[in-house]
Symmetry: C2
């Protein structure tokens, strides 16, 4: 029986066209991009072309793009980088309560070091409270970091509106108040034009856009400075030490170009499948949708089903060769309920009853129908066991 | 004309057998290792097997191995990780003057933050001054970091002897004084048994051992604690956030196993070629060997040739399709003379006249003879131009 992979938000496969572009750099074109000889230059050339390609998608200049080893590293570089560079100008950071751990844990670490962190509440649909943001901004604010589209519940924030508020405050107050968005989940689905979005920093990575794992990028608007997190040979304009990885960088750029090119048609297709799936899952009694009903990623379904443990549900689905998740992959091995689900105000019990299904390029109506056949049966079985327990 | 690649210390190609092992994880087996479902588990299983394989080569336990995104990141994790975890127990760090920038720049950053750093001198052959080490150790010393085999001049340090000194001091004084070695260049050439070496932490990476770029590992002896550098989803026992990269990790483990298996025979073969090359290069007038005449990596040749600019020499060799380097790839785009060559006491002028040739698995006697034919001609030409200038 074929596997039904519905965990595209955890990670995607590498598109064969992307892998094909990477292959020369995994084989003959293996030179160190910092070497001056021909073998180094061909790798350097590929990286600089990739940088231009990425910049084109983002509507920025190549020199505003830094390649890193992951989305997590890019988020860390944004948060630690800004905090450590501008600490003399202020020690206040604002993030939302539903950030990915890459931002959340970085902010917590800074809090332990003496920075002040404001954690913005979100409403029941996962939208950041704009008034709270306005009130939180102060002279000491050096960074605001808000996730573009949430990895667990798919809620899309009004990034351009938030940028506007942050920038107006900056101009008025003279505060540093830079704005970073983690766009890892948004890439391939939403507009990534940094000028339209108005962001100062933006994180993307390869493993969510049918590119390779192990590569991310950080857009850093001209004039914005950062302290590096990883230091060494001065690569990536001194912002990220370590031999540059031509194969992964070329793959990332190719994946981003491709994802951006097909994003409108693919989003439309996936939204149709998503809505069909949501409508039918919600026929299960005592189930509810988590996240915004409209402002959500076209591939995201997150539901809570009362009387069922999410983990048991995912493991049962796995027996039917359906790959699903209880929340983010990062937190799937932890026992604590999802911080995102708690932030939208659902109980810890209901948070433990959540299931995330995320669709992707290979997802078909047939697969969705298969899930809709299996899921209610599995829920019923688990509820039976659970009622016996009680 | 075929390319003559003599820059294996900058980076190696990926061995085809290694790439073959990686391929399933670049294709079908793409799951997120933190996902609980089958696609996640198969990636997790591969990573844990790789961890065991790496541990076996190092003679340690799997849980003492942490995978990272590069050798630079591993070195940073060792230096920053120890410094930040043990800062309440002491603020003194000892490194040698010939560390790779991954350690050197990390130590400098800590120095700027208020840590005290002792930079040990090396002798004319690049060996660390053991007496200076003994004198430098003090109650406040939390970390000693010394490169196993230098990336520029190939000098091999007596790591077991240094460990002994550091450990004896630790036992006597009660100081934290942990010992890290950067073994990126040593891997595949020297013994990596951490018990015999007596190290507390050791860095390795993929890109120097015919494995992929973008992956490194850090051996962390049981009982030693670290502050993570990159935080996020709690991967790698909370020491390195970011989706684990099964493809690169599997490739790294396979490369390490293979490199370790053939290290004795291959080192012998390369040492023969190296000595032949050195002997004949030194026939060029006013040339000298940099680094230790015996205690040096079997693949490393580093010479200074008076009256010739190293960079011009490397670029001329490039025209003959010979890939060589002036020093490390990391520093090849910088104008400052090599800190390693200055540390062994040669003049800035002579440091600028250096050429590094590093041999590898595909290096043949025929290639060496080709270099020996081209190099003296090129040197003569450059000296002519240079004498005209004067």
């Amino acid at each position: 029986m074929k596997r039904t992979y519905l965990d595209y938000a955890a990670t995607t496969y590498i598109d064969p066209k992307v892998l094909k572009k990477m292959k020369p750099y995994l084989a003959d074109k293996f030179g160190n991009p910092s070497s001056l000889h021909a073998a180094g230059r061909e790798a350097r050339f590929a990286i600089e072309q990739a940088r231009i390609d990425v910049a084109k998608v983002l509507g920025c200049e190549g020199k505003e793009i830094i390649f890193t080893g992951s989305g997590t590293e890019s988020c860390n570089l944004a948060v630690f980088g800004i905090a450590n560079f501008y600490k003399d100008k202020g020690n206040h950071i604002i993030i939302s309560k539903i950030e990915h751990p890459a931002v959340l844990e970085a902010a917590k670490k800074l809090e332990n070091q003496g920075f002040e962190v404001s954690y913005l509440n979100v409403d029941a649909n996962g939208l950041v409270d704009i008034n709270e943001l306005k009130e939180a901004l102060k002279k000491d604010t050096i960074l605001v970091s808000i996730i573009y589209a949430n990895n667990e519940i798919g809620t899309i924030q009004p990034i351009a509106e938030i940028s506007e508020i942050v920038k107006n405050f900056r101009q008025k107050s003279g505060a540093v108040s830079l704005f970073h968005t983690d766009a890892c989940q948004a890439a391939g689905a939403l507009d990534l034009d940094v000028k339209k979005l108005g962001v100062d920093l933006m994180t993307l990575n390869g493993s969510k856009i049918y590119g390779p794992k192990g590569v991310g990028c950080l857009y850093i608007s001209k004039g914005v400075n950062l302290e590096p997190v990883i230091v060494g040979g001065g690569q990536e304009s001194g912002l990220r030490g370590g031999t540059e990885n031509a194969a992964l960088i070329v793959g990332f750029a190719e994946a981003l170009k491709m994802a951006d090119k097909i994003k409108i048609s693919e989003s439309k297709r996936l939204a149709g499948l998503r809505d069909y799936l949501i409508k039918n899952i919600l026929k299960i009694t005592r189930s509810r949708l988590n996240g915004h009903p409209e402002k959500r990623l076209s591939n995201n379904i997150n539901v809570s089903i009362k009387g069922v443990e999410g983990e048991a549900l995912a493991l049962m689905l796995d027996k039917y060769r359906i790959c699903a998740s209880t929340g983010s992959a990062c937190s799937s091995r932890k026992l604590a309920p999802s911080h995102v689900l708690l932030a939208i105000g659902i109980t810890p019990e209901l948070a433990h009853s959540s299931l995330r299904l995320t669709l992707g390029r290979k997802t078909t109506k047939k697969e969705i129908n298969y899930v809709l056949k299996v899921l209610p049966e599995v829920v019923e079985k688990l509820r039976e066991i659970s009622s016996i327990k009680i």
